[in-house]
């Protein structure tokens, strides 16, 4: 299925998002490179989460949301009428802000997504592999039957990552995955992200600039104009954005003058 030679997995073209009459995000042009970590940063209300949710059509569930422009996944616009959003989400997984395991056993949490997607292989092996990749296996291997909610917050978030990995996605979207966690748990997730980038393409929304600087290869800086419409101010390799930003606004933001 990875039959394209283009290094870009996801590409947006003139992406605009509206909530009813409200123009939330304006003219976003982004290229997400394969097996890299791309961080979306910016002040609150700049639309970075909205853009992230456009990548796997999670905005479909907001009745007033409307999308203009194109989001290309391997060159195919995922908003084309012949595209099944369910399949999009299976290829482009997501990890949410607050850990949200299902109220099921740890095993079932990981296995469920694979089951509904028609997995025929060895489930036990898949669960173990996914938990290992999420760096959770050693902590839970003796209590796979325990409820997902019996874990600590950081473990829950890694369980959610394992759950996402089990359906073998290509891209993993992470929406402020560490904002509900303590600093130590956050650090473990960050390490995990770097490991995962060897096999997966990761897009992460974060409000934490140090995190973006530490883990990401590319950074997209979003901000809002006077009409409260979000737009992409600057996009480039992370070191450039943090050391030699082209834009004055980016510089002000990363040096903590606003935001």
């Amino acid at each position: 299925m990875m039959n394209t030679s283009s290094p870009y997995v996801i590409e947006t073209q003139d992406l605009n998002v509206f909530y009813g009459d409200f123009h939330a995000v304006k003219n976003v042009q982004l290229r997400i490179e394969k097996h890299k970590i791309t961080a979306l940063i910016g002040p609150s209300g700049c639309g970075k989460s909205t853009v992230l949710r456009c990548f796997n059509r999670m905005n479909d569930f907001i009745p007033t949301a409307r999308i203009q422009g194109r989001v290309l996944f391997h060159g195919k616009n995922i908003y084309d009428p012949d595209v099944d959003p369910v399949q999009v989400r299976r290829r482009i997984g997501m990890v949410f802000q607050k850990p949200n395991p299902f109220p099921k056993s740890i095993y079932d949490n990981v296995a469920w997504g694979a089951k509904i997607n028609g997995f025929r292989g060895d489930l036990d092996q898949l669960v173990e592999e996914s938990l290992r990749r999420a760096a959770l296996w050693d902590e839970v291997k003796d209590k796979l039957d325990a409820n997902g909610y019996s874990l600590s917050g950081g473990q829950q978030q890694r369980l959610c990552i394992a759950r996402a990995l089990a359906v073998k996605p290509e891209v993993i979207l992470m929406d402020e995955p560490t904002s509900a966690l303590d600093p130590i748990a956050s650090l473990r997730i960050e390490e995990l992200m770097v490991q995962l980038a060897e096999e997966y393409t990761i897009i992460v929304v974060t409000h934490n600039m140090q995190q973006a600087a530490r883990v990401s290869d590319y950074t997209a800086f979003f901000t809002v104009d006077e009409h409260r419409t979000g737009y992409l101010e600057e996009f480039g390799p992370t070191p450039e954005i943090f050391t030699t930003p082209k834009s004055r606004i980016t510089e002000d933001y990363i040096t903590g003058r606003f935001g």
Binding site: N56, M58, F61, P63, V86, Q87, R89, R90, R91, G93, M94, V95, F96, K98, N100, P101, F102, P103, K104, W112, G113, I116, N117, N147, Y149, C160, R163, A164, V167
Partner: protein, 321 residues
């Protein structure tokens, strides 16, 4: 300018004084709240004492009460099982009607319906819930029974029959199940649905395999409350289910062709019997009067048990999200 007050004066002003008004009000409100306990005690006391009266009669025994196959106190038959059987039959039919329908409506409302649709449908359910039960009784007798007779034949379906009463009880408890089930489903955090969608689940897979299991304790509680309501329902069965207990000479006869469980024949339930007997002019000294309280006690204990059970379920299996 006020005069500056001395320390002793200030100390004096802070001294605690009795506030009789406050105390009286506090006491009165406590009495009001305590009235609920008095009510419960009253119910228990009345039911037990009168039922004791009943069992103290020389011709009555607990064994006969629990084993006989007919209920005719005037001629010395006290088999409560025929009444309980009718109650269970109507309630079972009601649940068969209401449980799948109610759950399906609840899932539709909470997982599929748009905000607008919900805002139209929920008041309709509230209207259904607000209609007095006597109206449902009328509906059972003048609509459901003729309908069943037309579908299955007059020789199969009697004018008073358990099926039509049971089905209409099902309609009666439908709004109850629906709204309780919908509450339980809506209480499942949106994050769980997002997680499922994020894994590539369809709406149905999310609804049936994530949301419904997560809401299970609330759903079971809704069912138990609905069963308890169906068992206690009175007017529908009084009007449509039958004008006399379905008595049998022996249990052998009762089980012949499963006559005991035939839903298309009349049978009087516990509540229906109480209403019919107490509706006439009943003498306080008669065995009929005493027997009503024995039935009432049985009914009370069954519903109490179910209510306690439902709250246990909710508390025990309260979900952690």
């Amino acid at each position: 300018m006020t005069r500056e007050r001395s320390a002793p004066e200030i100390h004096e002003s802070l001294r605690k004084r009795p506030r009789w008004g406050e105390t009286v009000i506090h006491g009165l409100l406590l009495v009001f709240a305590g009235l609920s306990i008095v009510t419960t005690l009253g119910i228990v006391l009345v039911l037990f004492s009168q039922a004791l009266h009943f069992f103290a009669r020389p011709e009555v025994s607990l064994a006969r009460f629990l084993t006989e196959s007919q209920w005719q106190p005037q001629i010395g038959h006290f088999g409560i099982l025929v009444l309980i059987n009718a109650t269970l039959l109507t309630s079972l039919i009601a649940m068969v009607v209401a449980l799948p329908t109610g759950l399906a409506i609840a899932i539709y409302l909470s997982e599929y319906a748009s905000h607008r649709t919900r805002s139209i449908l929920k008041p309709i359910l509230e209207v259904l819930a607000g209609i007095p039960t006597v109206v449902y009784g009328y509906f059972a007798l003048t609509f459901m029974t003729p309908l069943l007779q037309r579908l299955l034949g007059r020789d199969v379906v009697e004018v008073f029959n358990v099926a039509s009463a049971g089905m209409v009880i099902g309609i009666l408890i439908l709004p109850l199940i629906t709204s309780m089930a919908e509450d339980a489903l809506s209480a499942v955090p949106y994050a769980l649905r997002e997680a499922a969608y994020g894994l590539g689940a369809t709406r149905l897979e999310t609804a049936l395999k994530v949301v419904t299991p997560a809401a299970m304790s609330g759903l079971i509680a809704a069912f138990v409350v609905a069963i308890s309501r169906a068992i206690g329902e009175t007017m529908i069965v009084a009007i449509a289910a039958g004008a006399g207990p379905r008595n049998f000479k022996s249990w052998r006869e009762a089980l012949h062709h499963l006559a005991l469980f035939n839903p298309f024949k009349g049978a009087e339930t516990m509540t229906g019997h109480i209403v019919r007997i107490s509706g006439g002019d009943i003498s306080y000294e008669s065995i009929d009067y005493d027997s009503l309280f024995a039935i009432g006690l049985t009914l009370f204990l069954i519903t109490l048990l179910l209510n306690i059970l439902s709250r246990r379920i909710v508390r025990r299996y309260r979900e952690v999200y």
